[in-house]
Symmetry: C2
Subunit: 465 residues, 2 copies
Amino acid sequence: MPEKSTSALPTTPLSVVNVGLHGFVESLRAQGVEVTAVDWRPPSAPRLTHTRTGVDIEAANAEATARIAQGRPVLVGMGIARQTIPGYHDRLILHAGPPVSWERMCGPQRGAVMGALVHEGWAQDEGEAAELAASGEVEFAPCHHYHAVGPMAGIISPSMPVFIVRNETFGNLAYATQNEGLGRVLRYGAYGPDIYQRLRWMEDTLYPTLKTAVESIAGGIDLRALISQALHMGDEGHNRNRAGTSLFLRAVTPALMRTCPDRERAAEVFEFIERNDHFFLNLSMAAAKSTLEPAEGIAGATILTVMARNGTDFGIRMAGAPERWFVAPAGIVDGLYLPGYTAADANPDIGDSTVTETAGFGGFAMAAAPAIARFVGGTPEDALRATLEMYEICFAEHEHFTIPALNFRGTPLGIDVRRVMETGIRPRLNTGIAHREPGIGMVGAGVLPAPEACFVEAFAAIREW
Amino acid sequence: MPEKSTSALPTTPLSVVNVGLHGFVESLRAQGVEVTAVDWRPPSAPRLTHTRTGVDIEAANAEATARIAQGRPVLVGMGIARQTIPGYHDRLILHAGPPVSWERMCGPQRGAVMGALVHEGWAQDEGEAAELAASGEVEFAPCHHYHAVGPMAGIISPSMPVFIVRNETFGNLAYATQNEGLGRVLRYGAYGPDIYQRLRWMEDTLYPTLKTAVESIAGGIDLRALISQALHMGDEGHNRNRAGTSLFLRAVTPALMRTCPDRERAAEVFEFIERNDHFFLNLSMAAAKSTLEPAEGIAGATILTVMARNGTDFGIRMAGAPERWFVAPAGIVDGLYLPGYTAADANPDIGDSTVTETAGFGGFAMAAAPAIARFVGGTPEDALRATLEMYEICFAEHEHFTIPALNFRGTPLGIDVRRVMETGIRPRLNTGIAHREPGIGMVGAGVLPAPEACFVEAFAAIREW
């Protein structure tokens, strides 16, 4: 800029003293206000820097967050779940969140399971599907146990197509299904002929067409680059994916045109994606998952590598103890509701999509997405505040994902269980809301904090390491 | 949002008293800071509210800005300039900015004219083209005199394809060429075989393919809707059009796939647009032009309907006197330079693209586009400040274009010559920078204020109305 102000008016410069939360200082400075920051925290126990056995936690977390930030997720192909996901077997249904039995499963996840079983042809109708699900003949397991993630109910059944995302830095793979759209869709717990028809079209037309296009692109589609750009275009990569979906279409369409001999089918595939601004969500989730797994197993690391909900329980896992879930009851979402629905219809928090926050974007990058207020409620300043607050509980800032409105500051990366306990600040999530009964679907979207109890338990575990 | 803060930390609320410039109040409030605003301006002459003949200026400006805001620009078709633009004749070359003779024309505009004459086949080479241009056998006229707009040199020659944008609210049409990309392109004054080859491809392949696709879309492509969305996706619609270009591709591609029988040609057309994030600029400019013309001729209106530069002069026209140009020397851009270039290479400010600011977006909506700092220099807070300052000189706020980061406040709309004189604040522009010599091309991008002198003259004219 040529000059700070071309105004001929004298102005009174503001001068502010800020005590405590650093976020306010950043936000005022971003407005050009002179701020004297006083670093202050309420008295608390000194930070836990080493495990009982002497492992340096700070060094472990530095390694974990560096691995996450250095991950380069690339969409390299697509496949059918049972043939593609390692360890998949014929009677396996994957679901979002920590492990849960059919008996404890919430309404929308049950609805999605019932729909998937009918879709697979294992049951004639949803009633028969519920009996089969209760019979013990179907095995349920978290997506997260199979390098996969699923939004909302997060159901992956054997015949469903999945995206294959490779973290080129470390070589590991992650998987997610194709996004169906909003409203009456399986992942929100809806079932019925309309849902099955769409799922069939997604398997028979969308999948083979997209697979051929994607796999014809030398080097694949660099999802880190797409997410990084989308964060400069008003997305946060979880509940706002309009830019990500646009950029994905830009990346895939020339290949789609060249590889699909049927122009009308190419147009239908393009239109299906074009009409669903959330299409990119499943790709951003698989990208996030692929960046988190290389951090698993670093002794002493108190950074989360998993944060996921099944609509009954909320569960977390840490890099230093990657096999162990710490769970607490799933929270209630404070949201905006679709016409005809209220909070009384809402199922508790559900889905693996919090993998985006775990990987340093999504709700943690809401400052990049002020327009998301129209979808999840609140105001643009709430969105800014949410991000500023998340820096308080994160170990690092992302080197590849930046927020223009914060002068290109890196997004908050690496939820540190110690900091959550020290500050009392819980991870802020934004999410869609499913109807609590099976068979219905989406009723709204909103925000909520993660439950405290699982962090208390995780912190107790760290003290034993 | 469920709660204002989930923090357990006590925070000291900020309290600020602001005197004068309202922009600071808005920006602080947007950060959640309590502000007591004291409305204060330096003593000045009372605002001119009526013309000498008694016309109510406030009412006239209200009508002018309402017409601009209510305009609904839609891309309805394409055509060849000489057959499409009313009044076009065989030896006419349109250019950006106010009227200018060949003798006074700046280097890049001369370069673009020379290139266009070779491209048209009127000259064998650029030397012969310069002779022809100087001979008086070619007529030069501003694009603005023909319902058209052109970025940078803004050359439109008879065989060039143009977009046809209809303002559906008022029925008037506006025109702009297809955007060539960045770097060595005609509009930045470059000429040579590479330029002519691209222009030919744009006429022979891009144009007919795109025309067929666009004209197959019932109702056309609603550019107001695209610009409105793009402002929520980090664009400002002038020097950042990554979202607009993405959304345009989303809107046109299904038709492109269905109407283009040659898949490889469709892919090449898609890729040409996809690789140029500025492709949407010419569409946003034609959209802006179409919304401004219905405000022309409202007696007593002191709002600008034209603000344009030819690289020699900067010119403005007012709604109340739409035929009269007020001109001043074009300013020097403060910018970021491409490798190998410095300010010494820069031509003064050039192009009709300031039609976007005139219509209430572009540089005036920079608060919506913090990432633009990477292209035009400055910081995201400069971008925020630029928008806040422009409210001071604008008569209204746009009802269809909003800025999420300012809590969805309408963009500053309708540059009021009276307010520019009262406040001493000049319109802030952002722009590309052309090399000052003909034949070279783009050297950078930056920002600058409009020159004061043309506003002084316009204000003197208002006093005579």
